[in-house]
Structure formats: C-alpha cells, structure tokens
Symmetry: D3
Amino acid sequence: MKILVLNPNTSAAVTEKVADSVRRIARPETQVTITQIAHGPETLESYYDESLAAPHILAAVRQAHEDGYDAIVLAAFCDPAIEAVKEISTIPVYTLEETAFSVALLLGNKFSILTEKKHKESVKRQHVRKYGLESRFASVRALNMSVAEITADPERVKQVGREVMRRMIQEDGAEVIILGCASMTGYADELERDLGAAILDPIVVTYKVAEALTEAGVRHSKIGLYATPAPKKII
Amino acid sequence: MKILVLNPNTSAAVTEKVADSVRRIARPETQVTITQIAHGPETLESYYDESLAAPHILAAVRQAHEDGYDAIVLAAFCDPAIEAVKEISTIPVYTLEETAFSVALLLGNKFSILTEKKHKESVKRQHVRKYGLESRFASVRALNMSVAEITADPERVKQVGREVMRRMIQEDGAEVIILGCASMTGYADELERDLGAAILDPIVVTYKVAEALTEAGVRHSKIGLYATPAPKKII
Amino acid sequence: MKILVLNPNTSAAVTEKVADSVRRIARPETQVTITQIAHGPETLESYYDESLAAPHILAAVRQAHEDGYDAIVLAAFCDPAIEAVKEISTIPVYTLEETAFSVALLLGNKFSILTEKKHKESVKRQHVRKYGLESRFASVRALNMSVAEITADPERVKQVGREVMRRMIQEDGAEVIILGCASMTGYADELERDLGAAILDPIVVTYKVAEALTEAGVRHSKIGLYATPAPKKII
Amino acid sequence: MKILVLNPNTSAAVTEKVADSVRRIARPETQVTITQIAHGPETLESYYDESLAAPHILAAVRQAHEDGYDAIVLAAFCDPAIEAVKEISTIPVYTLEETAFSVALLLGNKFSILTEKKHKESVKRQHVRKYGLESRFASVRALNMSVAEITADPERVKQVGREVMRRMIQEDGAEVIILGCASMTGYADELERDLGAAILDPIVVTYKVAEALTEAGVRHSKIGLYATPAPKKII
Amino acid sequence: MKILVLNPNTSAAVTEKVADSVRRIARPETQVTITQIAHGPETLESYYDESLAAPHILAAVRQAHEDGYDAIVLAAFCDPAIEAVKEISTIPVYTLEETAFSVALLLGNKFSILTEKKHKESVKRQHVRKYGLESRFASVRALNMSVAEITADPERVKQVGREVMRRMIQEDGAEVIILGCASMTGYADELERDLGAAILDPIVVTYKVAEALTEAGVRHSKIGLYATPAPKKII
Amino acid sequence: MKILVLNPNTSAAVTEKVADSVRRIARPETQVTITQIAHGPETLESYYDESLAAPHILAAVRQAHEDGYDAIVLAAFCDPAIEAVKEISTIPVYTLEETAFSVALLLGNKFSILTEKKHKESVKRQHVRKYGLESRFASVRALNMSVAEITADPERVKQVGREVMRRMIQEDGAEVIILGCASMTGYADELERDLGAAILDPIVVTYKVAEALTEAGVRHSKIGLYATPAPKKII
C-alpha cells in the first residue's frame, strides 16, 4: 500500500514536522511519501490562502494518481479544497479536520477545537456546521498569542494552551479536544494525562484512519457531492 | 454608485444573459459594469471548476477595488470562492445563492431549489446546511435533462421544469422556488402565475439587494469569518 | 413606487424617529409615507401589546391596498401580527426583525441581538427559532437599564451598550450585531468603527430591501403560510 | 378546582362538541365551565382569524381570573394568542397544539399531524419549528376535502382520513398521529385499533394534562417569554 | 385505576421519599403502590448501574401486568431501560426525565437541569439530544458537592443549589428548572417563590401526568420504537 | 496488539460469519480473538434483547481487561449497552453503528441505513438523533421480508435489497449506504459496483478503525459521558 501525505503549503519546516509524526505511527509495510505542494503560500491561514494553494494541491493529487498511490492524506487542519480534491480523485482522500471530527465522535459526547487566532473561531464554527456536527460540538477557543509570542516562549504556549483547555472542559463541556493548531502538537500525551480529556492530534488519527480504511477497500462515493467533473473548455 | 457584476466563468453567452437581466432592473443612476473573468472554465459545474476559476475571480475583485467600485455581485449560483472573496474585499460582495436564500426566507415558510443535474442535489443540500438553513429548506430537485436535450427543445425544458416545480409544491411543501439553473431563467413570471409559488431569479434579487444595501452603507463584518488575510510569503 | 412605512404603535415620537431614518435613505423617486396606527399601545413591548395593536395594523394594511401602495414596511422590531398581515396583503410586506435577520446572514457567520430588557432575551430566542436561524445566532443580550436611566443619561446608554456589544463579540462569537432597541439607534456608524463588527439598524436595512425587492417585482408566496384567508362569519 | 375550557371561536356547535368531549373525561370533583368567546370569527382558520379573536380571548382570560378559575384550557388546535394569554395570566393556561405535541413525545419516536386544508401544512410546519420539535416530527398531511364534501359524506371523510394516516405511518415514519382537524374527532379509538399508531385527540389530552398539572400546583414561568406586561398608555 | 410507582433502585430511603411525594398528590380514588426493585444497585448513577438494574426493572414490569396495574411510573431521573420497558409493556409507562421535559416545554421557552455531579452534565446533554429537545434546552449544571458535604450540611446544599439556579436564569436563559437531583427535592416551592422560575419536581409532575393520561386512555405506540419484541431463544 | 471482537449474542453462526469477515482484513501481527457472550439471546432485535444481553456483555468486557486485550470491538449493529461498556472499560471499545456512521461522514454528504424490519426504522432514526447526525442522514429503509423468505430465497433478498438501495439513492439522496442487516453482508462489493454509492459493511470498517486508532494510542474520554462508575452497594 502506497500513501501520499501531502502538506498543502510550502513550509518545509511544517512538512518535516508532519513527517516526524507520520513516520512514528506508519506501519512498516506501508510505503509513505510525505511531501508538500510545489508552489503556494507558506502557511494556510485564510480561505484566500487556500484558494492560492488549490491549483497546486489539485496538481499534486493528479500526479498521485499517475504515481500509483492508493490513498492521499491532505495534511492541514482546514481541509483546503476538500470537495474539489475528492471530485477529481478516484483514490481515497482523507483530510485532517473532517477525519478528526469523525474520530472525536467516538470518544465522548462533545468535542472542542483549539485554534490559534481569535477570528479563526468563526471559521471553525462554520466548518462544524458544514459538516453537520453542531450538536456534538462544545466550543472553539483560540490561544490568541502572536506568532512572536509563540516562537519566543514555548513554555508559555503550553501554559496558555492548558488554561484554555481547562476552560473548554469546565465551562464548555468538552470531553474531547482537537489540537487544531500546530504550536500545541507534541504535547497531546502530557495534556491528556493532566486534563483527563481525550486529546486528538489530527495528523496522527487521520493518517491511521486513512491507512486502515484504504486497506479495507473503502472509497468515497462518486454519485453525489464528489461526482467526477465533466471535461470542460477552459480559456 | 458603481457596481461590478462579475460572471465568474468565461462564457460570453452567459455574461450577455446576465447583462440582459441586470440592465432591465438596474436603477438609471447606478453605473453597472457587467463582465466576466479573464481566464477559467466556460461554466462552473463542480468544486473543481470553481477552484480553477478562483484565482481569476480574486484578481477581478482586487481590480474592482482599484477601479473604485462600491460593490460587487458575483453572478453564479454556486457562490464560488465566496469566503476568499469576502476576506480580501473591503467593499460589499453579494453572491447569488446566499442572497437568494436570504430573500426566500422573507416570502414563505420553505423554499426549494431547481438544479440541472442529479448529483448537484447533494451539493445544494450541503450548501443549505453550510448556510444553516435546513429548517427552512423544502427540497432540491434536478431537471435531469442532458445539455443536448435542453438545447434541442426549450419547450420541453419548460414543461419538465413546470412538472418538477409542481412536485416541489405538492410533495415537498415548497412555497418559494429558486431557479438555480440557467435554462429556466426568463420563465419566472409565467411560472409564478401558473404555479402560485414565489419564483426567484437569483441574479435579479441579488443585484437589487446589492444595490440597496450598498446605498445604505451596509458592509460585511471583517472580524470573524471574513477577516482580512495577513500578508504571507508565497513560493 | 409608493411605499407605506407603518409604525405599529401610537407614539408620535417613535414615528418621527423612524421618519428621520427613512427620509435619509429613501430614493428621491420613491413616494414614502411614514405613519402610525390610529389606535393602540404607545409602545409594543409584549405579545399582549401586539395583540392590542393587531386590529389597527390590519386596518392600516387594508387601507394601504385601497390607497394603491406598492409595498409596506412594518416598522417595529418585533414583527407584530406578521403572518396575519401577509395573509391579507397582496402587496409585499417587510418587517424589521425578519428582514434584519436575513441581511445579517450575508455579513458574517453569526449575529447577535441587542435588546432592552432581560426578559426580552427569551422572546428573541423564540423568534430566532421560529425563523429557523438558531445555527447562525450568536446571542441576545439586554441593556438592562430602566427607561428612567436611559432617558436620564444617553451617554451612559452608549457606554453600557458598547460594553454589552463587546461581550457579544468576545464571548458569544458575534460578527454582526442587530440594534434591536431604539435607544441605541443613531450610534450604528460610530459603534461599527469602534467595534469592527457589522452593526445593523433594522429600519434602514428593511426599508432599503423593501424598496429594492418591490422594484424587482418580488412578492411573498400565497400558497402556504400566507394563504389569503377565506371570508368568514364574524359575530 | 375550577377549570375554564374556552373555545376561542364563536361557533356554538364547536363549543358543544368540545363540551361533549370534556364532560366525558372530566373528574367529577372538578368544576368545569365550557364556553366560547363573546365575539369573533366562527372558526379560526388563519392567523388573521386569530388576530380578530385575540381581544376577545384576552378579555375572557381576564374574566376567568376575576371568576376565580384555577386554570384555563384554550380549546383550538392553533394555539391562538398563546403568548399574550400566558403573559397576562397568573393561572395556568394550556393550549391544544402545544400540549398535544408534548404528550406525543411520550408515546413514540415521531408524530404526524392531520390537518384539513393543504395550505395549513405550511402553518403546522412553522408551529412545530417554533416549538423546537422538528426532530420528533414525522409529517403533516391534509385531508384536502372541501367543507361541502366533509359535511355531505362523513363516511368518505373517515375513509380518506384513514388512507392519509396509513401514508403517515408507512411513508413518513409516524408512530403517533394528532387529530388536528375537527372532522376526524370521535374516530380516535376506532382508528387506533385499525392502524396501530397512537391517535391523539387534542382536547382530551390537553384537558387531562391541565387538570393534573393544576392539581400539582404547576405554573408557567413568568420571568422570560411570558413575563407580565408592564402597564402602558393606550390611545 | 391502579398505578405502580416503581423505584428502580434498592434504596428503601429513596422509595420512602418517593412515596411521600406521591401520596401527597395522588387522587384518593387511585390505588397507588410504591415499591422498589427486588435486587440491584442502591442508586443509579451510571449507565452501568442501569444495566445492572434493568433485568429487575423488567421483571417488575412483567409482574405489574399480571397484577392488573393500569400504568407504571418509573421513578428515577435517568429513565433506565426506558425503551426495553415500553417494548414489553402493553400498559402505559411514564418515566421522570422524559415526562419532566415534556411538561417543561409548556411552561417557558427554555429549561435547565440541576444535577449532582459534574460528569452527569454530559449525560444529561446526551439525553436532551436523544429526546430531540436541544432547541428548548438552556443548560445543565451540577451542584458538584460530595455526598459527604450534602449529607453533612443540608443548609449549604440549599444555598449552593440556589446559587447554581441563579446562574441558570441569569447566564443560561432558563425559565424552567428541573430538579434532577434528589438532594434538592422538597425545596421546589420555596425556590420558585425566591427565583421566579418554574421549578419542577420530576416525580410530582410525572405521577400526575401518568394518572391523567391513563385515565384518558392514552397508550404508547407499539408500531415503531416500542414494538413488542418477538419471542427468542435465550441460552 | 490484542483485539477482542465480541459478538454480543449467542448465535455461533453469526460469530462465525463475523470471524470470516474479520480474519480476511485483520493485519497478521494483530492477535484477534472472535468470540460471543456466554449467555443471552440468540439475536438482538429489540432494546429488550439488549437488556438481557447487557450483563453478559459487561462480564466479557471485564474479562477482556484481565486477559490484557488492547481494544474491544462490539460486533452488533445496534451498539448494545455502549455507554455502560465504555464506562467500565479503560481500553478502547468500538461499536458497529457508531463507527460506521463516523466513517460514512467521510465518504459523501448523506448516508442511508438498510435494516431488516419496518419497525426498526424508528429505532435507527432515534439512534441517528442520539448520535447528533440527523443533518447527514438520508434515510432508513427496511427489507421487510420475513426470516422465512430471507432464508428460502437468497437471490430474492439480493434483488429486493438492490431495489431498496436504488430508492435510497434516487429518492432519499443517499451517497453512502450502511448494510445494517446481516442478510445483505457479503454483497457490498457487487452492490457498490452496480449502484455507484459507497456501501459500508459495518464489521469491516469498525474492525479496521479499531485496529488503527488503538495502534495510535487513542482512548475514549473518561471525564464525561463515559466516566468510570463509582463502586456501589448492590443488593
């Protein structure tokens, strides 16, 4: 089984981080390639960024078909171009947000999302509604630290993150927390021990679900939302 | 007041059709420009098509800011790149699907959407959920005729469309019907008389709402879903 | 085009305030009449008040038909007798709450409502549910000042209102705020600048939507919720 | 315990029918008065009719307080002026639609409503949403016979009603059916035996719930939706 | 009429408390038996406890049929084995949580639930969703006192309970509060006077609804969720 | 990694069928034990049956902890005693219905469930609501053949099943179909080819998800819905 893990931005550092996570959990017999898109924004923090990345994501997905991959993991917690990708793909595609949500449903009554910036809270709420999961959603809360602060003081990130999560549990009713921001990755186990909630690292659960369901022969439906686009004149 | 009506595909025929509709209803003192994107698919019938059109839509939106437009109407009933467009825009942007839904809410308890192809029914259901309006949604039904059939026999399109709408009213509880497919445009008045339901032509209602709200100084919120993207390194 | 703006209470002061707002934004070629009901409560602050006003609202609506109006704007943020009015009316009727909600949907992910008294929060929550918009609703919060306080100290109203709105944005996720209480009207622009959220003055957006949609020939559906009542023996 | 059963229309025939039902099930020690409003429409079939009846309903409710009643049952399956009535009332008020819905929840997963005319289906759907019960709602279907047909041929009413109910069960998933139209009253037991579903006669269940909860000292909350209206200047 | 009130745990103290409440409100002509299951946990505080109690509840329900009871009230605010019980029962069964929810709907826009321990908040949220009532649900909050604290200091329970309820009203929008924890029973009237909200004691309202609806001949539907199980080989 | 696949009924034939499915897809390095409960009903077709099976399921789960299993798959498409099992378990537990629903979300906009008997449609609708997934749910439809018919004529089962699924796709908008009834198992691939929809065999996807997530160290949250029950006096 060959799986492509595609980082849909152009940050080599992020790709490396994703690669670290995936290599630790990939089964030895799976051939995993971890790569990034050829061109596009260094990070995806807006729908605008996603629009710029989309053509390069789609190109990489097409290439993956030619290269004989059995499945693709799109490794960004915003599911960029998810519908377009599933439309053109005949092999399974798993994205981080959608898959982490599905896994969260199995672990407790309500889940919360940790995000980085305040305005992303609105975006996450919209996504939860788009996926039809509002009834299982406890809250989204942002770290709300500047990139400078995050870089300068990792210890403080951890402390602030822990405090935000404690409020998700105490005030919002979260039983499961999804680490929707890269700066918290790597602390999941420690936080899980301290806080009691199930803490999900999206890349980990998505990769494993992709590996498992692909092995089982599961494919996305091509008769509705993800129907293959008809060929079309493009000027 | 200067309004840009942007057809987000490259079909001159569609642009002309939109122009006809808009010119009939635009107020004389509004300067309306009706145009289309410079490059991209001839029609938008999939998320994939929309991804291809997006960079050109975004370029046109940026240009509209430089050209001093007061508002933009994005003239396709699939709201392509709607969030990205509103993120980068500081002038109001109105899109056909979203605006037609908002107007439908004012006219009856439940609305239905007429679409062209069967698989688009899933897409429309997803959109209705994304916009949080399932409780006001009666149904979506497709004409389900091939383009060849549609072109060959306009009279039959009308007849089939009428039959589909009658089922929306009788079986689905629709009181308002949105003409979500170009082939039915132009028949709204006649159908409204025959069927009794309110029939909405999205371009008409969206253009008028855009004109009115822009005049009233209404702007979209820039603190959440549509926050202006931070500048970013693009490779 | 002739539009009747009907204040459904008997306060001349409120009618004058509405008239000020409408005259500032009405198009010169529209003939607008701003009036109030002949008899009834001085303000509408309960369903009971609305019941008392209803017969006089309905009489005014009938008269508007005889006087050849093309549309009616019912100028109170509680949509009094909305269904009865639409049932007997064959010309379009736009009400403030419903229309402001529809416009809010176009401007951000979630909207909040500012109201005057604590117990009206329950009423607004019920209305949001009745209109099927809970998924797009952030919160309702009351100023919670007595009329005496409001009258005595306009500067404090502004200050309290600003503080309440800040909480809507910070704690409730509001991106759009509807000024559902008269005492805040007139501050929309200033608040919008300060708080960043889109602030809606219901009379302004409703009047403009009414003007625009009426010009476009839009009418409410008469086959379901607003079917014309059959004549009936009344004792 | 003194209970007032108020028919909110002016049809003596309907009042008599209600009285028959109530007398059969009222406990001997309860003093029940069954009456009708002094003036108003002969039947309530629209929101407009309800607006006309409202002042007379409210007057009767005030009178009931003076006459020392312990509770009021408002005997029409459209809950006319329900909020206004509960606002001005300090004694419990039970209405047919709301109470029948609450009882239906206890008897099966989903309930359907039988109504008389097609356009009332929209009204019932709106009510179900207003009461927040869409998730437990199977469907509403109309008999769709003219009054003439209903009067002329009671046997056919029964036959058509049975056929409609069979479709509610087979196609819509109804387990409980609420007889929301007077012409079917009296057949509940027979239909229940034939169809297997629980069939609810709203006046019966509402009266009994009112009697029971009043005896238990239950009262509606006066701090939110039903807060007592402040006195007000009425012109 | 013979009603069995079944305490589905083995605490004689709880059974006695239930008996006190029921005897105060039962009609003299009703023959009420208040009893408890023969074997099982002393209290039901988890789904696990409920699983252990279930066989004994089911046995008691079967016995009730043989003993000629007309209805059963299952007296625990967690509705243990509710579906299984209704499946095997041909006489009406009323449970505390479900019935209290249905009554709460009649008394205000939103209800809250007072519970004992923090983790039960998740359970109650799940139940509210299972019953399809999220839209009418304000909140659940726990007393969060240890059993030792509750036993040692009844006065403090009352004080903490009052404070928690005040927050339900002020912060969560509750108009009706359901006493979902035994330690608060008996204070309903006093709290209702102090707080203004309607306070429901589940055993009281459920018993009275059971008595009333049974008298009216109401039965649960046996064609769907509660269909009688087919006989089956058990090893 | 050691996984216990527990058939929660006492049919050796079903256990064998499950074993066949699991062995085909289990990874060679996983030690899988497929077994059934020691006592209980031969099949689980009602909540009553589940209540009878529950003590034996719970005993088997406890034993699995002692035997050092890393995860448990509960192999029945009704999730019997799911909450109780997760409460007492500190190792992950995956159940067929819940997991199949989570996987279905990743494959299309809406899913349908094929069930055996008509009355189970109500049960499945309740489950979908309990899991908060109504917005992603297309429909449930029953084969509605007697066991005799199913046994006698497998070819007709296939034919009827295919026809029912075709209606799910054409009339209900299903893109994903979950084989919620054993008689259809084994036909998934063939049906998927014929119908185009994604067809899920619950045991297959659940086993693979369990294997994958357990390997990734994912555990259910123990702070809310699935909190470990306190020890308790049992009589």
